[in-house]
């Protein structure tokens, strides 16, 4: 049980993929203008990463059995691209309202490097099927947390008086730096 707790706290806070390891910076800066869109993106990513971690872990068994490990990158990215497609069409049929809410963010997930990074880290740390899935889910929650936090700050920044040269990306980057400093405080937790 304690290993699961370590994975949960580790993935969400201590080794947060965005704030402590620099993965998924593009959507982090791109979709963090408003809190509601940030939440939508976070939900879509959580959905895809959880399934992707499970499927890629399963496929790694096949790659190991055939000793084709060098194909890992190609196989994983294809699986992720296909999965995003499948999730998109499935949502369209099953839950049109959720599909509407996620909108353009769904296809963008393919190029979110957190998905591939989590899949590869699961393999290199030697997690099993259950741990990999949990790890993916928590990593995605961590991503959502960082995204929503930054979106909240940026909404406030829009309304405050800032020098024009700080507006937009420079301001967001410096704000992320300060957030990352705060996240460093979780370092001793595990």
């Amino acid at each position: 049980m304690s290993t699961f707790l370590v994975i949960v706290i580790g993935q969400i806070l201590v080794n947060n993929y965005v704030m402590c390891q620099f993965y998924g910076i593009c959507p982090f800066l791109g979709v963090s203008k408003r809190v509601d869109t940030a939440l939508g993106m976070g939900m879509a990513v959580t959905f895809v990463i959880t399934i992707a971690s499970f499927v890629t872990r399963l496929l790694q068994f096949a790659l190991d059995a055939l000793s084709l490990q060098y194909l890992q990158t190609i196989v994983f990215i294809l699986v992720i691209a296909v999965l995003v497609q499948v999730v998109e069409s499935a949502l369209k049929k099953l839950s049109p309202s959720l599909y509407q809410a996620l909108g353009v963010y769904l296809p963008l997930i393919t190029t979110n490097c957190v998905v591939l990074a989590v899949a590869q880290k699961n393999i290199s740390t030697g997690y099993g099927l259950l741990e990999s899935t949990l790890c993916g889910f928590c990593a995605a929650l961590g991503f959502t947390l960082a995204l929503v936090l930054l979106a909240g700050i940026r909404e406030r920044m829009e309304e405050s008086e800032m020098p024009t040269w700080m507006k937009g990306f420079p301001g967001a980057l410096i704000m992320s730096g300060l957030m990352a400093m705060a996240f460093m405080g979780f370092n001793g937790l595990i």
């Binding site: 390891q21 593009c26 190609i74 294809l78 591939l116 410096i174 996240f183 460093m184």
Partner: protein, 212 residues
């Protein structure tokens, strides 16, 4: 810029006008992730440039064969093949650099610069121009991340390319080589880049007025 697509103008476009890091804001993850030392910046930049040039060339050659519907998976396979080649090459010949760059090498697959150039340039332009575009973008990316890495290395450890630059009495700022330092340095560099671009535009406008 798209009107007079010649090889030199395309090269220059990637280097300065549409520099991927400072104007297009693409490929941010490796930009921030590996730039703790100047050497890593160059290594990552060159690996990305290789993949960018090859994938642009191949996608441009195949642009009339790939059906529109399956273009995204096709691009991904082309890109992933070249990334795997770079990865295996580095594991065999540059193991130190490979372990310093860690999982960022396989992650070149999802670097949005490569994908964006394939989609917006290589799919519409002849091979030679696409090659020039890949080279220009790649070198522009390499220069900007090496610069960022050099600044972080200078303040974080007092060295550049491993050579001591700061005086012995300098206390290294550890935070610069850690995550927050990366964000803040890039933010400050972006302010400078924006200011430089604005002053160039102003000067150009003034020149145009003087000519008229």
């Amino acid at each position: 810029m798209a009107k007079k697509n010649t090889v030199p103008s395309t090269l220059l476009n990637g280097l300065i006008t549409e520099n991927p890091t400072f104007t297009l804001m693409l490929g941010m993850c490796p930009t921030l992730g590996v730039t703790t030392a100047a050497m890593n910046g160059i290594g990552m930049g060159l690996a990305t440039t290789f993949v960018l040039v090859c994938s642009n060339l191949f996608i441009s050659l195949l642009r009339n064969i790939i059906p529109d519907k399956v273009r995204i998976p096709s691009y991904i396979i082309v890109i992933a093949s070249f990334v795997t080649m770079v990865d295996l090459f580095m594991q065999a010949f540059l193991p130190d650099l490979r372990s310093a760059l860690g999982s960022y090498i396989p992650l070149i697959v999802v670097n949005c610069i490569i994908f964006a150039r394939a989609e917006s340039f290589a799919a519409k332009n002849p091979p030679l121009l696409s090659l020039a575009d890949g080279l220009g973008m790649g070198i522009g990316f390499t220069i900007s991340i090496t610069l960022l890495a050099a600044i972080r290395e200078l303040f974080g450890t007092g060295t550049i390319f491993g050579a001591q630059v700061m005086p012995e009495s300098y206390q290294p700022m550890g935070i610069m080589t850690q995550v927050p330092g990366g964000f803040i340095t890039l933010g400050l560099m972006m302010i400078l880049a924006n200011a430089a671009r604005k002053s160039i535009q102003k000067r150009r406008a003034a020149r145009k007025e003087a000519a008229a």
